[in-house]
């Protein structure tokens, strides 16, 4: 029943996005443009081949930027829009399990996130970029990253964003510094030492680094660095989903009183 309800929620979100089209188009345009910019700038700046530069640009573009805006921004938008249009109140009248709601939003953004990942690697393949590591590990990192962003989206959407206008300021205010410190736009090696310390606490940095090591260097979980990033990512996704779930339940309890 939970899975069936989750699929219904996911299908509804995807249908709504398909009807609006604008968000979907921008979520296609954004990673492509960022990949091209990242790849070409890195090749020129680091004086390396485009194959090398795109090998590094692809994972950063996926987890550091594309998934961030679609999965985190999208989740916040979905929750805020649902509350704004009061359809959340309608859902309260149905026997909808809160896990189904979370899982439904996660599934919808998995579809979008996986689509973006495939698109980025498909474009990168024009520069002879190949996924060097284990595909399953790459998939786990991407899915865990989507889970982290959806969990964060739940936290922000239920706690901080009250109106649709709040979504942009939240994503920009919290997101852009996280992305810069996470190495989404340029390698973290360019950062000064004191900021490098901060990056250790940044989940985007760990997602980015984990995928980068697996995708570009072909590393696996036997590599200590990869293992650290991977463990951080799994710990983070667990905490953020639990916190997001709690925040969602609290929001629903408030909605019931209205």
């Amino acid at each position: 029943m939970i899975l069936y309800q989750a699929i219904a929620i996911a299908r509804r979100i995807l249908l709504e996005l398909w009807r609006q089209k604008r968000s979907l188009i921008l979520w296609v345009v954004f990673p492509i443009s960022l990949l091209l910019l990242n790849g070409l700038v890195l090749a020129e700046g680091a004086k390396i081949s485009t194959t090398e530069s795109f090998k590094f640009a692809a994972p950063s573009t996926v987890v550091g930027a594309a998934l961030f805006f679609s999965c985190l921004g999208g989740t916040v938008s979905t929750i805020v829009a649902e509350r704004e249009s009061k359809t959340l109140k309608r859902l309260l009248l149905c026997p909808l399990h809160s896990t189904s709601y979370f899982l439904g939003i996660y599934l919808a953004y998995v579809c979008i996130g996986v689509g973006q990942t495939l698109l980025v690697y498909a474009i990168a393949s024009f520069w002879q970029v190949r996924f060097a590591g284990a595909l399953w590990l790459g998939a786990v990192i991407v899915l865990a990253s989507i889970g982290s962003y959806v969990g964060m989206g739940f936290l922000l959407g239920t706690k901080l964003a009250r109106r649709p206008e709040d979504v942009n300021s939240l994503v920009a205010g919290i997101g852009v510094p996280l992305l810069i410190l996470g190495g989404a736009f340029f390698p973290t090696s360019y950062l000064p030492d004191n900021l490098l310390l901060l990056t250790q606490l940044n989940p985007v940095y760990h997602m980015n680094s984990a995928l980068l090591l697996v995708s570009a260097d072909g590393k696996g979980l036997d590599d200590p660095d990869t293992l650290i990033h991977f463990r951080f990512l799994l710990g983070f996704v667990t905490i953020v989903i639990a916190a997001g779930g709690l925040a969602y339940r609290r929001m629903m309890n408030i909605e019931k009183q209205l």
Binding site: Y4, E16, R19, S85, L92, L93, L96
Partner: protein, 303 residues
């Protein structure tokens, strides 16, 4: 079908519902009336299991509301809480899935509901392209999807034009024939009088009157209402004449005129001569309506 016994609810220090007792048999339309803030929405939220009562019990078809409400009740909220960018069919399919309907059962239920609310011809139209009346009917269809035994209609015709209102009334009147029990809240007294088998009037969280229209009339203590408009200087004399003939003065909200309740059936030709000494500007004799009873009960001075 729905039994509410000794139900009370307060928010902090504010008592919102006090000792509500109510029974709605299967297949009846029950109208719940009351001013804004009387406690109608809180009562509905309690029946739907969205809120927990302080004391008392609600049972639906013999089962406690807390455990079964969402499966046994179909709710049509005050607003059309639907997904505007989905079609009617997609909206229904989505909510049906949340109720666990699938496959043939889902398709059958969808078709039945679309037919019942006469929206089959607009099934594949986006919800935001529907008129207000159609949106409301789609809302009713959502509430019918899982074959609920009890349907709660929260101000179902608010904001609808006259034609759409009549269509909605027809739709509501058909529901008891399918074995559905209806709890309807409305501010339209004509609607309540026309549709409901029984009525309950809430005032400051208390059910101050309850029963059929005949019961309420009996409780009102009169059969007819006499409305008189006289010159200001004639008012004392008019009140004396009315008292002599045991006409009961009542508060009237419609216009600046005197209102009296009359027992038994009289005709204007009997009454006009009684007021020969005063200059009548207008005189109206009408049977006691729900409006008279409601206004009387909502009077701050009435118990």
């Amino acid at each position: 079908m729905l039994v509410i016994s000794h139900l009370s609810k307060s928010f902090g220090q504010r008592q919102v519902l006090q000792d509500i007792n109510l029974t709605i048999p299967q297949g009846q339309i029950y109208g719940l009336l009351g001013a804004n803030g009387a406690g109608k929405t809180t009562l509905i939220n309690l029946i739907c299991g969205l809120l927990k009562s302080d004391c008392g019990q609600i049972t639906i078809d013999g089962q406690r509301a807390e455990t079964c409400a969402r499966r046994l009740i179909g709710v049509v909220p005050q607003e059309n809480l639907l997904y505007a960018s989905l079609t009617c069919r997609e909206n229904l399919a989505f909510f049906a899935a949340l109720y666990g309907l699938r496959g043939v059962e889902l398709r059958k239920s969808l078709q039945q509901c679309l037919t019942a609310v006469q929206l089959s011809h607009r099934a594949d139209c986006l919800a935001h392209t529907l008129s207000g009346g159609m949106m409301r009917r789609l809302s009713v269809a959502v509430a019918l999807l899982h074959q609920p035994k009890l349907i709660i209609l929260d101000e179902p015709t608010t904001g609808l034009d006259i034609e759409a209102r009549f269509e909605m009334w027809q739709l509501i009147q058909q529901l008891p024939q399918q074995g559905k029990t209806i709890l309807l809240t409305t501010h339209l007294l004509e609607e309540a009088e026309r549709l409901c088998d029984r009525l309950g009037i809430l005032k400051q969280g208390r059910l101050v009157a309850e029963g059929t229209m005949a019961d309420l009339r009996a409780g009102f203590g009169a059969d007819q209402m006499l409305l008189l408009q006289v010159n200001a200087e004639d008012i004392p004399k008019t009140l004396v004449i009315a008292q002599q003939h045991q006409f009961i003065p009542r508060r009237h909200y419609g216009s600046e005129c005197l209102a009296f309740a009359l027992r038994g059936r009289r005709s204007l030709s009997d009454i006009v001569p009684l007021f020969a000494e005063v200059q009548l500007q207008s005189i109206t004799l009408q049977p006691v309506s729900l409006e008279h009873i409601y206004l009387e009960l909502q009077d701050p001075n009435s118990p």
